[in-house]
Symmetry: C2
Subunit: 233 residues, 2 copies
DNA sequence: GGATGTGAAGTCGTTCACAGCT
DNA sequence: AGCTGTGAACGACTTCACATCC
């Protein structure tokens, strides 16, 4: 239903057989909300709800109803006036928009506490995000503590094998859980291996070339944020 | 140094021994950047840099120089015209603003994979965030896997002891790492125990009363975001 | 009738540009 | 002379309000 082409500023795509044109950049906040809508719709699907209005969905996600409609409007028309949205269809459409309808294959680099945590934490991830490789500078040192927890253990490989293995296992997302001093080096390796998406847990700014995408998760930043709010409210 | 003014919402502030008044709401993005500045300043302090201009700091944090000055301006005047900022002083001032100059005592609730990961992950946290308690519904089941990794193990307690222990250990931040179905229940327990800050890893919306603060960390949302960017660039 | 889709208005955050100190 | 601090311009995102269509 929704077939998309495209890039940066201009952007064409299909919805229900109609080609639409947008020259609009989509706010990142919109994408985050889409993810939230997706989660809500999943719950609704499970409880058997078939139709939902923007107001209902908005209430559940704690946002404004117009916001829901605007967010969706960036990508096409998904509702029926006077009725609402079909839960199942909307859910599918949103998954297509986000690209979360496909399986994403990930590698974790840096198997210290956090890295091994993520390996064993995989039940927290949605089904479509799979960890299929683990790298470290010293694979020997860490094998014990990783494999103990996993039903199907992921073998820890030396980072020198990154490029080869990335290709072989079709890795698209690299997760950096090394100390900050190593983060840029690992990034460069991932870039060389053409792993286009990077999720960076190391508390330092990393730089990626055009065409690659990096997202940071800085626990410290989040905690500082909490600390600020607690200190000032 | 000196102070001024005005608008929106009240709040008082204390820097360099001077009480400041602001009636302005501070953007959350500003707080996040402050945290980033803080990290950079820490590095500079270590490498012995003494003075920094807004342009230099901005370059390092990849933001606009005017942005740096504006962010700081919400809280006072910290620089010297024609010179710049003293690294050490600015760092201290920012830590005071964020409230990250004090020690924050945290409890982790839900000692599954992620929870136990956080317990052992503590070296990733900055020094001033300390995990001083761990709770679960079934403390027996998890003792083994937690204590093995810790030099000084944190004993896992039954959640029924939350209120008592929170008071005793002066816990100010609760970290929720339970399955989503339990998240609101745990939140209510934390609220009852007067733990005012909540960091929620369970992928579901939780509701806290006035006066409490909750921040979400949804891995799925972040990954969906990456997936979107990878699919559309 | 009722809910969507959307221009227009409003709000919030960022960047510019320069006055004001040092 | 140089860099901060800040009003004003700008741009981005959100909300309103209503025309549109089922």
């Amino acid at each position: 239903m929704t077939k998309k082409l495209e890039f940066n500023k201009f952007f064409t795509y299909f919805v229900k057989g109609v080609t639409k044109l947008k020259y609009q950049k989509i706010p990142e906040a919109t994408i985050r909300r889409l993810s939230r809508y997706s989660r809500c719709l999943e719950e609704m699907e499970q409880t058997g709800e078939e139709v939902v209005s923007s107001a209902q969905l908005a209430g559940r996600c704690m946002v404004n109803a117009a916001q829901v409609r605007k967010d969706l409007a960036y990508f096409g028309e998904f509702g029926i006036r006077g009725v609402g949205y079909y839960v199942k269809d909307l859910h599918n459409d949103i998954k297509k928009i986000l690209g979360s309808n496909k399986e994403w294959r990930m590698a974790v680099v840096g198997i210290g506490n956090l890295g091994s945590a993520l390996l064993s934490y995989k039940d927290f991830l949605k089904q479509n995000y799979k960890i299929v490789a683990a790298f470290d500078i010293d694979p020997q040192k860490v094998i014990g503590r990783v494999s103990e927890k996993l039903g199907k253990p992921v073998e820890v490989l030396h980072i020198s094998r990154m490029k080869e293995v990335a290709k072989e296992r079709k890795i698209e997302i690299g997760v950096i859980t090394t100390p900050p001093s190593e983060a840029q080096g690992v990034t460069d390796l991932l870039v060389e291996a053409e792993v286009r998406g990077i999720l960076n847990f190391a508390p330092t700014q990393i730089i990626v070339p055009e065409g690659f995408v990096a997202k940071d998760v800085f626990f410290t930043t989040i905690l500082d944020n909490l600390a600020y709010l607690l200190s000032n409210n």
